[in-house]
Symmetry: C2
Subunit: 630 residues, 2 copies
């Protein structure tokens, strides 16, 4: 009944080979975008096809794929994001991360959907993309500089204040496995250590300026949806504007699942000092937004001496407040803001950094690390000075920081003496600030996510304790019980986590209220396709399937879908005291999930049949490359 | 974003036990309807829960479930239908069938979504349902009468011309396994022999009169969709009005896949005399429609002596023209109309009847049957007299007809002498008038349909030779090649056949242009749910899963998913001469389909994991009852 607009979506992909300094342009047909969309699925398509299994993630054979999505840059809230992916130096498997801000929309305005970065430059370079014109430029003068320095330097030398920059800081240059990729100085593709991949390629930055207005198939409909979304924001998302992502600190603490002292505890005495509310009343001076978004959930903070936190790096998100705050036993919001600033200046993932520092603190408390190891720093829970110092040392690979720069798993192996029991990671990726002991679905997600412990490829059970329109449209009629691991819960997890993966293809903000029907309308309005909730959910499932197949090919199989032992034990106090994950039920749930997802019980890779069902028959031969398979 | 209207859909189910003459009312919550909808899924829910495996389909333990759908009776084209199901006396497995007309909407107006008929009356009865009032009445005076006689008798004795009647004819009374259930005299729940189930319960008819206007959540939106649908009908479906379903006879003949002489040939010399066009120019006197539908695809015909075909029984559909016409080598449209009338008067499935007669004709041509067997009838291809006589004999179980009344498979077993090679059936259900050698996807569908060879649980490849909005919304971007059996084709089959199963839940006409997005809008407008294409497609998959599990429990497994040997050989002339199904590729395709559908390779039942994924965890214990499973 609905007819498609002729033409549909078209796009361009830039391929940059840094070894031979060649750039080429690829223009896949609309069909490609409809199946691979952008973000995780698009990245998965290229990485699975073009990377050989077993390559060094920090070697020239790895590829770094920046990918906007079909919706990136569309003038409706939550559409200002993009993704990036590569083989992860942190996990040795699939790596991808998402970021917001203004760089993604600028990339689209320059006419590009994605950039595939190949090879390795022999000296530091940056990319300058002005619409169709692409230059690989010398970056010797930028190497070693902080993100804010580079951003302003590039704007100056390119003579355009509206240039948008994605870049690595010194941490990425030094191949810190916790290194992130920044854009617009204060937005981060945080997880999976992708900053180190960019660093390994000697690519300091990608500066972009575009002048082509984004074309959409049905401008009027896009406006209508944008307006309705803005209205929902106005009506229901005021709390986000007031308190940002950190608005929930108090609630999590009350529930007993605010990650505290390296997940030993779920309540933090000093929580009230580090809430979003506290931030709004103390160090916050402004709010900030992403392209076309009225939520304004980003914080801008300022702290005077001796912290000297500047506005430019933004304020700490919830994840940062948790990881550099409660997880380290620190209730000094100014110190957290300082740690956040250092992470952003040096280009570090605040989550991985904080969790790794908390790990080191627990080692220190237990005598596995001493002041001799730390260079005299008393690396105890609650020592804000120590945290701030250690962030800097990790970012610059100084002293003890050089070991911690490898991430918690590798650091624990180097430190030895039983340190591994304190390394809270999955597949080498450090746990973010959500405790699966209070939302067990998230625990399944941590275990089975292709990226390891990652809140961006996941569900957050507590959000689903009432049936929302997304659940309803996916045929989930009952609210989720955050402590249930039964079949019905696993089914809901399966559907919702595929939807989250779609959002990582779209690449839309997880907070914005586009349920699958509304999302299909938006996609149709932008592309002219007759997009449906079915199709979009399948894009998500396709993305996840590609990532899991990538992992299996790298030897990451069911055995790697674990959670840290600590999570089977309870926290030491509060409402969740003594209540760990039920090991048997949890492992049964993972097994059941494999079945529902159509994954092999041993390789945890999608079966040939499931690949074919997802129109990924081309990837079936990759199953033969799975390590350990005959 | 979209919020659900409070309340959502509610409905009522009538349970009638004919053994103890009790009626009870069940009112499932809205959640039930959202998962089981109506038609195949709703019927599947009850049959799987309430029938014991191994029961006699014609015994009192079988249950006959009439089910309208959530959309039945909604005033938009194609929504005037309903379904009925039971364990099939023809296949010994899952049986369900759909019908249009006006009875379904009347049932809804009387306030009922479904009727579950249990047990067996000790003498003929009929049900009289007037809104909430339900009576089990004596039907001794109706027993043995034709459908038109019963219809007018009931209208007269109930004193209301607007009473709508579903009923069996004499064929159902006599437990003819080819017996159908009629409604409105000329609409048929044709397949699976369900008329015999109704007959076995001594239930002659269900007369319904309702006075409650249908409630919908969003009247304005329903009107808008109805208007848009009417517009599409006006613009694109004129051919259907002019020539009905038989409009395609010429095209199929040109393609070489008009089933002819019991599938020995794909072209028929006399095809021009039996087309929809020929009918319009000769015996057609009017057109007819179903509730709220402007297509008017139904024919009304009239033929004088010696045929004496009356208007009341309607004209032959394509399936009837094929089965009583070309399949029997008969090009006499008046004789076909007469055969159609006899089928409708006696309550026979025209497809099963025609295919069984064609089988007998081939037996006769090959000397396996003689005039001694047939009582002097020269049962040769092309003998219209013989066909007309044999229809009557089957419906009344007279002479040779008593054997053929058992259906082609059982008749072949009784006849012996190699007759089985001519019995064109799958699981005991006779092939309809679509030749899988020219649309191989339909062939997969015949093999794997829970009902055996059935065009109503299937795809028709030729319809998908251009990408239509349904395909597009399901993420199928390439047209189907009717001769392809590869993975991509199987994937498309999988998605489309689930969608067809959804339509058998909805229960909407397969010809109407509700693509999944438009359908989700319509469902939402009617129910107040935030229905999505995802959810609806999953309802279809759920329906199919229930039916397949039912079959597996009855011992119908992968071994029964065959096609007749003849289909691996080519037809004897025309464009498809010598081109049979590729056995290896076909069997590989079925295997691949099992994988994609999530069915066990041996039992061909959904796995426990797939059941759970479809929110059918309650049915997992049924897997233990699958014959041959330990």
């Amino acid at each position: 009944m609905t007819e498609e607009s002729p033409g549909g979506y078209t796009g361009k992909i830039l391929r940059v080979n840094l070894t031979d300094k060649k750039t080429t342009i690829e223009e896949p047909e609309g069909r490609f975008y409809r199946e691979y969309f952008g973000g995780t699925a698009l990245i998965g398509y290229y990485l699975l096809k073009e990377l050989k299994p077993g390559i060094d993630p920090l070697g020239p054979e790895n590829k770094l794929v920046f990918s906007a999505g079909v919706l990136s840059g569309v003038p409706s809230a939550g559409c200002g994001r993009s993704g990036v992916g590569a083989k992860s130096p942190l996990t040795g498997g699939w790596g991808d991360a998402q970021s917001g801000g203004f760089w993604p929309a600028e990339l689209k305005r320059a006419g590009w959907d994605a950039i595939i970065v190949e090879g390795k430059a022999d000296k530091p370079v940056y990319l300058w993309i002005k619409d169709d014109q692409v230059e690989i430029r010398d970056a010797a003068h930028l190497w070693g500089k902080t993100t804010a320095e580079v951003d302003s330097q590039l704007k100056e030398e390119l003579g355009d204040k509206r240039v948008r920059v994605a870049q690595i800081g010194p941490a990425g240059e030094k191949l810190v496995r916790l290194a992130a990729i920044a854009n617009d100085i204060n937005r981060y593709y945080g997880r999976c250590g992708l900053g180190a991949v960019m660093g390994s390629k000697m690519l300091k930055a990608i500066a972009v300026r575009g002048s082509n207005p984004l074309k959409v198939a049905n401008q009027e409909k896009v406006r209508e949806i944008a307006g309705a979304t803005a209205d929902v924001i106005k009506r229901f998302m005021g709390g986000f504007k007031s308190y940002g992502t950190a608005g929930g600190v108090g609630g999590l603490n009350a529930m007993g699942i605010l990650p505290t002292k390296n997940f030993q505890e779920g309540q933090f005495d000093g929580f009230e000092k580090i809430t979003g509310q506290a931030m709004a009343e103390t160090i916050m001076v402004d709010t900030d937004n992403c392209t076309a978004c009225a939520v304004n959930c980003k914080r801008v903070v300022e702290v005077g001496p001796p912290y000297n936190v500047e506005r430019v790096y933004g304020g700490p998100e919830y994840e940062t407040i948790g990881s550099l705050g409660s997880l380290c036993g620190i209730d000094d919001l100014k110190a957290i803001a300082h740690g956040n600033q250092t992470c952003n200046a040096l280009g570090l993932d605040t989550i991985g950094t904080g969790t790794t520092i908390a790990f080191a603190m627990e080692c220190f408390e237990n005598g596995i690390l001493t002041e001799k190891d730390t260079g005299g720093i008393e690396l105890r829970f609650g020592n804000a000075e120590a945290m701030m110092k250690m962030v800097e040392m990790i970012g610059r690979r100084e002293g003890m920081g050089d070991i911690l720069a490898e991430g918690a798993r590798r650091a624990a192996e180097k430190i030895g003496g039983g340190a591994s029991q304190y390394a809270m990671h999955i597949k080498g990726q450090e746990l973010p600030m959500h405790d699966p002991r209070g939302k067990v679905g998230l625990g399944i997600g941590y275990a089975v996510s292709p990226t390891g412990a990652d809140h961006m490829h996941n569900i957050h059970d507590v959000e689903f304790m009432r049936v929302n329109p997304t659940m309803s449209a996916l045929g989930i009629q009952e609210p989720l019980d955050p402590f249930d691991l039964g079949l019905s819960k696993v089914r809901s997890f399966c559907y919702l986590v595929n939807w989250q993966h779609f959002k990582n293809c779209a690449i839309t903000c997880m907070f914005l209220p586009y349920d699958p029907n509304r999302m299909a309308e938006l996609v149709s309005a932008v592309t002219g396709w007759n997009a449906s909730a079915w199709e979009l959910e399948k894009v998500g499932e396709r993305a996840l399937a590609l990532a899991r197949l990538f992992n299996a090919r790298e030897g990451l199989t069911a055995k790697d879908d674990f959670v840290p032992e600590r999570l089977y034990k309870g926290v030491s106090s509060g409402p969740r005291q003594g209540k760990g994950l039920d090991r048997e039920a949890f492992q049964e749930a993972i097994k059941n999930y494999y079945g529902m997802a159509g994954w092999d019980a041993e390789t945890a890779s999608p079966t040939a049949a499931r690949l074919a069902e997802l129109d990924l028959a081309w990837a079936i031969p990759e199953l033969d490359k799975i390590a350990g398979k005959k």
